[in-house]
Amino acid sequence: MCKNKTEAKTLYVRDALNSNVKKMCEFDSMRKTGPLFAAGAAAIPIVDYSGKLVGTLVEKDLIQFLNSYFENLSAEDRGNEFLLEQEADVDIHFVPIDQISRYMRAAEGNEQQVISVGQTLEKAESVLCEQNQTAALVYDGDEIVGSISLNEIAFSRQRAKAACCQKCRSQKTTVESYSL
């Protein structure tokens, strides 16, 4: 392991970018997100029928879905106690428990700082921490080009360190062979 404690090379968001990004519709089922998360997606852009971005879904949101899903399964066992009685002056909307729109972080009214490809990893990390997020979408101008997560930032740093150590070792070997 390299003894350098400070990294000479500045790392940017593009160095840790996960470009494996696929949009999903807000009315889709959470069940469909499984393969995307399993394939390593950190954040999924959620769009409406017109293709407009309406939110973001991150792996952390799966926990909330699992909670609702299993709570409702047990409610079903108890005889659908969770279903409320219809009232005369109340309009009832049925929203499937697995609909993505229930679990995503809505884009509208959310003036969070955007992460762009040109930012440093330190900046992206501080934005994620400020927003209490583990992952977020990455923009190049107005276009979504991928996602980034705290794990990917850590991976990227460790890879850079490993490459630095490799370089140091090979330089050391060259010097030693010259001195021989």
Partner: protein
Amino acid sequence: MFGRPVSEIMTCSVCSIHMNERIDKAIHLFLENCISILPVVNTTGCCVGVVTLKDVVAKEKSHIDGHETPATEIADILVCDAMSSEFIWIEPQESIAAAAKKTVDNSIHHLVVMDENKCLVGVVSSVDILKKISESNSDNSFQVSDTERMHVQK
């Protein structure tokens, strides 16, 4: 379906690390396998903790910030010094629903699966549970039973 055992959905071929290995070996395993969590085992194969990428980063950060003794290089830190010995686990015969409950209650993405001898037998993740839900064939009953009524005043 969710009464089925966890062993049906868990990943059996799990990458693990010995507690007396150095932390750079853990980093190597994280990078090589693109994983963020490693179960830590002792010489008898019992799982004694977990080490995450987050633990390693935190350990490195405290080292760089000078909270650790300067004489200790990051590479010399042992896994047992960076791991969390308090971790959530489940037995392979426990139900998928129980695994989901533990995942939700503790807000975690991975559960270590250990047998009655505390030997590591696998790992189950929130995505594994989601996959099982996706495979559910009870779509019709799902639509009825899992529909929530949202009341909106006119």
